[in-house]
């Protein structure tokens, strides 16, 4: 891989061990999470395979807090990250002999419990963005959050063939285009050298 699996495993270990470094999520106001979740579910391109409709709305809300949408900058919502997550959990649910599905389902149920503690009539997706962020900060160190974060990232930046990263919005955000072939110079510093500029500074 690695190379490499070594280094990737090393990095993932570093990340797992970095719970304390998990920075605080943003508190900026997002577009109304509830409205989006309802719209997304009603406009679903197909039935969800793993999630119930209610779970999908909650999961979509979590994805949107992990990678939020901003004006002119699509996020997990536009990428359809929840659809990737549904695909991954429905078709490829096992990682290292561990089935993620019960843990994800329980984690979503726990979010419902936390939402109802705020307002007995609401689920997670119905809460305000601030309320959602507060709840998620409280579960940052859980396996559930770690896995949902991974699913969101794959759904935002993975290959579009898996149902996420729609319109390659994630790749566009980070400046990647998967063109399949490039010509040098590739970046600023090699271009600078090729042009005979950029000597010692």
């Amino acid at each position: 891989m690695h190379d490499e699996v070594t280094r990737r495993a090393f990095m993932s270990r570093a990340m797992i061990g970095a719970g304390a470094l998990f920075a605080l999520g943003t508190t900026e106001q997002l577009a109304d999470a509830r409205a989006y979740a309802a719209r997304q579910v009603s406009n679903a391109t197909g039935a969800f395979g793993f999630f119930t409709q209610a779970e999908a709305a909650d999961m979509a809300a979590v994805c949107e807090q992990i990678i939020p949408s901003e004006p002119g900058s699509p996020g997990a919502r536009e990428a359809g990250a929840v659809y990737f997550a549904d695909y991954a959990l429905d078709k490829l649910p096992t990682v290292l002999q561990s089935d993620l599905r019960p843990m994800v389902r329980q984690g979503l149920a726990d979010l419902t419990t936390k939402a109802r503690a705020i307002d007995a009539t609401k689920r997670f997706a119905d809460l305000t963005a601030d309320q959602q962020v507060t709840i998620l900060k409280g579960i940052e160190a859980t396996d559930f959050f770690r896995r949902v974060r991974e699913l969101t990232i794959w759904g935002y930046l993975g290959d579009p063939t898996h149902g996420g990263n729609r319109g390659q919005v994630g790749w566009q955000h980070i400046g990647f285009d998967n063109a399949g072939a490039y010509e040098p110079p590739f970046g600023y510093y090699d271009a600078e050298r090729a042009a005979g500029r950029g000597g010692e500074r």
Binding site: R8, A23, D159
Partner: protein
């Protein structure tokens, strides 16, 4: 030579050589031995994926292990010392497909230096270790380094590295284009008085022997090259082996036991086919090239009445002296886009610390390379400065660092310790019912000091190169690796090694072992060229022995 159809052999037909594993060593041996007129079967546990089937799907390749061993089916277990109980976790990574590791490797192709073969004599003993000289010298292997570079197709610039060992021929191909990371490594090295040189890579900078040059797509590490420009054994060796008409590559064939006759000679192997049915293949000689983890596992699984401690294990050293090498890495952010996702991953290397001055109080050495081998999702999952937010709006903005980020990766020595070993887990089984691969590993303190030393140099380099932000992952104890070395070490003394300088098992006359397990020292943990040079040399030795009827 007119290309022939690949050979097909019957199970009861004793082929001249049965090779277990089609990777860095196995495919070289298959090509060489079949070209020399021998009848060869290669049993590969993974699938046969043609280059035109490779794609850029990060989720499939990295997350779902499309080209590598899948821990869900083949679990590993880990313990630090033999008194601990091993726990299931992912540890050893290897290419599990026809062509093996070189299909998905980065392409770094470093020769070992002269010192790597004689370092024990030069530096003296290190108490509590199995630190030893090789039974070969650099001069013995030099013709085969050259052969590997020319047969496979390697790009580089001879003479550019002032620390390079002598070479009999230049590289067959010029270096790949310098990347922004390479310019920055050069800039930093110049300021620090170090010497950056073009990375030697098993990737074609120009068309070569019917294969096309690199298109700079950026998907080297963890991916197969759909252009055939990566000089993997799949691209450069397997087609030639099959074209002899004497070599059969048999994929989806997972060997569980090497069989031994009453005379103590091996007679063939038992393996599982794609449908998990047991099959046998007869052979006059068996070559195990299954990698430094699976090779000792297979020898240990091949225990018999005659060899109760495992095959070729009279010394008791099969699986021992495992060398992983600690991991450390430093990252840097720069003002302008580097766009490191384009092109090969590494374009400049530094060998100024190949031998760290002993005045620092520890043994070790290594090299540094400037690189970026993160793909989009992997970067977000683990390639970002860990001090940055990990979710939310700030996290999303930090992801825009993707084109402005590079890493400096040290590669270093690992001392051989007898307690560090591959063995069979007594409880955990794989999906075929075979004992899981168990790793016991604890770094020598000098290896960790070396890692810290090199990490400090990596940070200095990024600073000198003008990084606006730098970060280093703390040096951590090693538990896993993709470089699997030392577990059937080569030596002249049957009491202190597993194979002789012909790669013949000391205990079994028609059994040979050639792969990363043969290495006596780790070099600076860029082992592929040395494994392949050993394989080219082993093929010459096996050919000579067979022609003299000495197998």
């Amino acid at each position: 030579m007119t290309p022939q159809s690949p050979a097909r052999y019957k199970a009861a037909d004793p082929v001249d050589f049965l090779i277990v594993g089609s990777g860095a060593a196995g495919a070289v041996l298959a090509k060489e031995l079949s070209s020399n007129g021998f009848r060869v079967v290669v049993l590969e546990q993974g699938p046969y994926i043609r280059p035109n089937q490779f794609d850029h799907d990060e989720y499939a390749a990295v997350h779902r292990a499309a080209l590598t061993n899948n821990y869900s089916r083949q679990p590993n277990t880990f313990r630090k010392t033999s008194s601990d109980t091993a726990k299931i976790q992912p540890l050893v990574g290897y290419g599990r497909l026809v062509g093996g590791g070189p299909v998905h490797f980065t392409g770094n192709f470093w020769r070992f230096h002269e010192i790597d073969f004689i370092e024990r004599s030069r530096k003296g003993p290190i108490a509590g270790t199995g630190f030893a000289d090789w039974p070969l010298t650099y001069a013995d292997l030099e013709p085969y380094y050259t052969k590997a570079e020319w047969e496979l197709g390697v790009s580089g610039l001879a003479g550019a590295n002032p620390f390079d060992p002598p070479r009999s021929k230049p590289y067959p191909l010029p270096p790949l284009p310098i990347k922004s990371s390479g310019v920055l490594v050069e800039r930093g090295a110049t300021k620090l008085g170090w010497h950056a040189f073009p990375a030697p890579l098993a990737i074609l900078s120009k068309d070569y022997r019917g294969r096309s040059a690199c298109m700079h797509c950026g998907f080297c590490e963890a991916f197969g090259c759909e252009f055939g420009a990566k000089s993997s054994t799949l691209a450069a060796m397997i087609p030639l082996a099959e074209a002899t008409g004497r070599c059969e590559i048999r994929p989806d064939s997972y060997v569980r036991e090497i069989e031994v006759g009453d005379d103590g000679r091996v007679t063939g192997v038992i393996y599982f086919d794609r449908e998990k049915r047991e099959q046998r293949q007869r052979a006059k000689a068996v070559v195990v090239s299954a990698n430094g983890a699976e090779t000792p596992r297979l020898l240990l699984m091949s225990a018999s009445k005659r060899f109760p401690n495992g095959l070729a294990n009279g010394s008791g050293l099969v699986g021992k002296y495992l060398m992983f090498g600690p991991g450390s890495i430093a990252g840097g952010l720069f003002e302008h886009p580097l766009n490191e996702f384009k092109g090969v991953h590494v374009s400049r290397v530094i060998h100024d610390f190949y031998e760290i001055d002993p005045k620092h109080g520890f043994f070790g050495g290594g090299g540094l390379d400037g690189r970026f081998d993160w793909y989009p999702a992997g970067f977000a999952l683990g390639g970002l400065d860990p001090a940055r937010p990990q979710w939310g709006g700030e996290f999303k903005r930090a992801l825009k660092d993707f084109p402005k980020t590079m890493y400096v990766l040290p590669h270093q020595t690992a001392l051989a310790l007898e307690g560090n070993a591959i063995s069979l887990d007594p409880a955990v089984k794989d999906a075929w019912g075979l004992p899981a691969l168990r790793v016991t590993y604890k770094d020598h303190p000098d290896d960790l000091k070396t890692a810290q030393f090199l990490l400090d140099r990596a940070m200095e380099l990024l600073d000198a190169a003008g990084a606006t932000r730098r970060w280093a992952y703390p040096v951590a104890e090693t538990e896993s690796s993709v470089h699997l070395l030392g577990t059937c070490r080569m030596g002249k003394d049957a009491a202190t090694s597993v194979v002789n300088t012909d790669h013949r098992a000391h205990d079994v006359p028609n059994l040979f072992v050639c792969d990363g397990s043969s290495l006596v020292t780790s070099g600076r943990n860029q082992p592929t060229e040395t494994i392949q040079a050993l394989a080219f040399r082993a093929a010459d030795r096996l050919t000579a022995l067979a022609k003299r009827h000495e197998i």
